[in-house]
Each structure stands twice: as C-alpha cells, then as structure tokens.
Symmetry: none
Subunit: 404 residues, 2 copies
Amino acid sequence: MIPLDVLGKLSRAGDSKILLVVLDGLGGTCGGERNVTELEEAKTPHLDAIAVHSSLGLLEMVAPGITPGSGPGHLSLFGYDPLKYFIGRGVLSAAGVGLEMKAGDIAARINFCTVDSKGVVTDRRAGRIPTETCVSLCEKLNRELKVPGTTVVVKPEREHRAAVLFRGEGLDQRIGDTDPQREGLAPLPAKAASPEAEKAAGIVREFITQAGRILASDKPANMVLLRGFDSPPHLPQFPDVFKLKAACVAVYPMYRGISRLVGMDVAEFEGERIEDEVKCIESIWKNHDFIYLHVKKTDSYGEDGNRAGKVHVIEEFDALLPRLLALKPSVLAVTGDHSTPAALKAHSWHPSPVLLYAEGLCRPDGHKRFTESNCSRGCLGHLSATSLMPLMLAHALRLDKYGA
Amino acid sequence: MIPLDVLGKLSRAGDSKILLVVLDGLGGTCGGERNVTELEEAKTPHLDAIAVHSSLGLLEMVAPGITPGSGPGHLSLFGYDPLKYFIGRGVLSAAGVGLEMKAGDIAARINFCTVDSKGVVTDRRAGRIPTETCVSLCEKLNRELKVPGTTVVVKPEREHRAAVLFRGEGLDQRIGDTDPQREGLAPLPAKAASPEAEKAAGIVREFITQAGRILASDKPANMVLLRGFDSPPHLPQFPDVFKLKAACVAVYPMYRGISRLVGMDVAEFEGERIEDEVKCIESIWKNHDFIYLHVKKTDSYGEDGNRAGKVHVIEEFDALLPRLLALKPSVLAVTGDHSTPAALKAHSWHPSPVLLYAEGLCRPDGHKRFTESNCSRGCLGHLSATSLMPLMLAHALRLDKYGA
C-alpha cells in the first residue's frame, strides 16, 4: 500500500463529496434454498441500477484468511494499515460504550465478578448479572469512588461487562491484567509492566481497593477484574491527512468511538433506524465532504444466524438508497467492514464486496447486480481495503499526480 | 514485489528478444456514442488477432487510486519500485529537453521572469514569452555565462520554461528553490539545505548574478527563477540487472532521458511518426535483445481531450503491428505508462491494460480483443506494473529458478 504520509501529501481539498456506506458484516456465504449469499438473495433494485455503472471488487480487510475485528476492519476502510495501527481492547470497549477518550487517558475492560470471604474469585462473570444490575453498580461506583488527582469513569456494557476510563497527569497504560483467567485464584494485583507505569498502576490498585469496599455487599457482583489496559493510539487524523471535513453517522457507540479517534465529527441525531441515519445525512450533507454511514443490523442478524433478518436489512438499506443518491455524492462506495455469514454466526475472513460509483469516472463492469460473485470478477479486482480511501479520493478528483 | 537484487540474481543472458510497447496514456474511461473506452472504440484487427493467443491483465502503476507521472509510470514498467526510486523534477526537466546527465550533475527547472528596478518579481512567467524568445535567451546565457570550474548548460523547454544543468566536482543537490512562488517579492537566494551543498549553492548564486546581468536589457524576461534542484538518482542499471542489451526507441526527449538514466541505449533515427520508430526498430533489432518502443501521441491527444485523435493513434499503431511481429519477438508486451482518458484531459489513476504475447508460453485468455474490460478479466489478473519485467523475462526464458 502507499504510505499514509505520501498519500497525505497528494491529497488536496475540493468541492466534491464522498459517501462511504458500511453495511456491517455485509459479505456472506452461500446458503438458503437457492444456495446464494445474503446479498445475492436480497432484492436490491436500486443497488442493481447503479451496479451496472459502477466498478466492483473484493476488499481484503487485513489479509487473506484473517478475520478482522471491527477496529481493524474500519481502520482499513479509513485508509490506515491495520497491521501498523491498532486500537487496543480497552480503548475499543471505552469507545463502544461511548466514553470519549483523549491522548494520555487509559481505558480497560471490566468484568464484575464474585469473590469469597478470602478474596478468591468464585465466578469470573458474577453469574452473568442482568444488564440493569450492571448499570446500577456502575452508577454506585461513579458516585462513591474518589481517587485523588484522577478522574475515573465506569460505564456499563452488557451483563457483567463494563469499561473504565482513567484520566490524569502522567498515566502510562503498560499495566498487567488483574483477571486471573480462572476461578479459585485471587485477582492479580495491578502491576506496572514498565517503570513509567508505576503511578498509573498505583491508581488502578487504589481503584480496585475502593471498588471492593463499595461493592462488598453486592453479591454476586462484589468485585471487579480489569484487563486490556490501553491508551488511544496516535492515529494521524483523518481530516488532516485527507483534507476532508468528515462526519460519522452511526447509531452504535463503538463505531462513533472509532470515528472520533480518527478525528471525524460524530453526528448527533434522534432514532436508531437506517431511515433516521439517512435523515441525519440529509441534514449535515452541506457541511461535510466525507460522510461515513454505518449500518449495524446486517452484522447483528449475521451474528444471530438470522439469514432472513440480514437479507431484510440489506433490502431496507436498498429502499433508502434513492434518498442518498438524490444528494448527488461525487463518489459513493458501499461495502462492509468484514463479512458476517449467517451460517457462521460470527465475523469471517471472506473479503468484503465493494461497489464504487462515480459517474463518468469509474470504469463500469457492466455487472447487473452488486453481489459477491460479480465483485470477484469486478474491474477493481481483489485489493486491500486500505486502497479504498485512495480510490475514493481519486474518483473525487482529490489526489495530485505522483511524480512528474 | 520481488526485490530488484533478487531478480537480478535470477536473470540470465539468452538469445530471446523482448519488445515492450508503451502506448503512452493508453487506458481510458468510457465515453462516446457507444460508451466505450478509446481502446475499445479503436479498430485493432492485428492486436485482436494476437489477443486471443495472449495473456491479458491490468497493471497498477504505483498503487490503486494513485495517478502516476511519466517518471514513476516508466520506472515501474522497467521493474523499479516507484515508491523507492524517484526521479526529481529538475532531472526530469533536464531529461525532457535532452540534457544528458551523469552521476553528480545537478539539474533544475528555470522560469524566465520579470523583475523591476529594485529586483522585485513582477511577473513569474515573464508574460509567457514565445518559445523562440526562450531559445535565444538560452543561447545568450550559454554564450556569455562563465562559472569557473563548472560547466553550466541552459536548454529551452517551452514558453518561459527551461532547464539548467550544473556539472563540476563535489556538487550536492540539496539547494532550496529561488522561486518566491508569488509576485511582489524578490527571488530567494539559493540556499544550501545541508552543509555539503554550500559549494553548489554558491555556484548557483553566481549563475543567477551573471544571468541577471546578461539578461538586464531583455525585458520582460530579465531574470531567472530556479526550482526542483536534483541529481540523477542512483538507479541500478537496467542492462546489468536484467542481462539485456536494451534500447529505447522514442521520439520525445523525456522518455529518451529516462531510458538513458536506467542505462539503456537510446536509438537515433529520423522522423517523428510511429512508422519511423518501427523502421528504427527493424534496423537495430539484430543488435539488441530488449527494445522499448514509446508512442507519445496517445497521451497527447488524451491530454487534449481529443478522443478521436487518441483512437486514431491506437489504430495507426495497430496497422504497423505486423511489421513488429514479422521480427518474431520472443515476447511482446503492449501497455501504457498510465491512463490518460480523453474525458479527463489528464493522466489518471485507472490501471493500464496489458497484453503479453509469447507463443506457446503464455496462458491464453481466449479474449477476442485487447480492451480494458477484457484485461480486467484477464489471466494475469490485476498486478503491480513492477511485475511486468519479471513476467517478460520469464516468458523469454531468461529467469533461473528461485531456490532449489
């Protein structure tokens, strides 16, 4: 791939507008009565209508055979080499619950757990307490915790899971997990893996001591285990690198969080349907020249193994496509951040189908539908997902020539 | 890509002959009545006849989305990683006007400009003086300039543009531009960006002082601005790396210059038509085993937005193809150094169609025509243009096995 700094030097501002649609987990595998993928099964008259004028291809998110998490999948789509740039689990958890992070903050994943009277872990997941319990435990911690000189915020995820953020001077994230990884052992003390992290490790130990005291009567969830300490990575900022006024339109906190980490504006809007997202795009269209739309449910249904549900979300998006086309984006790309075949009920390594539409500028394939099999014969070929940003910029006439 | 030194070790001499035809800016985008590319529109019976026996593919010159200049495009075709090897603007300008450069020479781009009585630039382009004026100003400078211990040669380009070459002992190219980039300012003094470049910067300052004196009465072009100081890059020499006796057959100085920089012989011949080039190839065929033919006008018409003109040049080349085939090259490759769609009137990022013909050795696609869309489904796939050299060498049976 072309290095990000070289690409940044070639990028120039302009009037063109780019719309990147990420249908989360879009790609699938064959199944159902007709033995086709979810995308092939879906009735998509509007995508079909532009497919014939578009360039199709298959995006390799990380490398062949590698199943990407949402972090690497999105970084790759945003032009960052996912093997070079990495968002750690703690930071992704924090982003996932909507904790806004700054450089120097530390985040970690929390498990509420059960300890016995000797402090030995008897259940690492505290019997998978209901999410509402988790919410009230987090509220209690936030109310009663007091670590001098440090802001600590705990935010619930689901069931026994939460995220915690530490903000203060001179904090270093190189701290070992406190989760002993099996029952019958006491939680590990938070240890600095590097001398620079002694201060932060001390703060984490103080946090754990106080949490144990505050939660003492809250059996089964009477203790916390922490893992995945991390700070936000130093990511070159998307708007600076690409000279784009960029916005994220997403319902789920994790995708909003990743977008915030790369420096995009994160749009606020009411509602959780795709239509609500489209309405938001219509309202912010004038003020941005790059909009990233994230549609979550394709992935959610895929993870549930609900093939029909995934097909339906693709059709729901297709029905709204004319409203997006009415905005006349100079460049429209539709793809996924990874595949989530309903048959696998999980993310998969299959490359993501991509459609790139830029009237008069893309070489059309002539394929009559946007499907995995047509994409595998598309004129974009099989390419790294990190190539999508330069391709979108090129078709938006926002890249200078390389060399004389 | 396979590193050049590894490839060099595998390369062996032989009796086979390779012909690389570069139709400059060959690739296009769809347009015209039939909504096809220039190559698709052209009537190319002779290319069609060999296409069916050839392997087709699409060459990515630098990286997806990146529009290459002619320098990177050609380096890539010649097997050099264009992100590693770079020919600077000054050297390319010098090559472009036919100034032969050696290692240690410095070249820069000159703008003739207008300065007022206080030495302030009032017109950075001296009213775009006619090329004839530029020619006579260059002659005057070459006649009257005298910089002790240094050979200085000025050569006209077009209108107010020229190139200058400095040859002497111990010259370092790290010198800042003297062009202030806007009117109302005095030219910047030539400053060494590194201590090693102090000597060269002094010579450039002396050149500028003398030029100002010599041109004093030549208003509007009474001063020079210099930019893009550069030395020829240290390019591994093509004939050594690939064990090929290589020749360039090109009309335009820039392509002859690039070929000279990589160590090819540059053929001299009369005339500027493709037919004149073919005649030259016929005359030097015996004495070379790699010939690079450059056809310029496909690009020129593309840059002018003259679709029909570009189509015609492709047809003109096609009509001459039988004479090239009559020479019985072991391997024939036809491609471009970048795309120049007439619709864009400029170089573009679209990958270059390539046809590789080696009787009995290439896997034929069975495609009936050499077109972008067939190339996108060709058996060579989408590949880096740096892969063309190893592919041509392989089909010419000039590469040893890698490993036992």
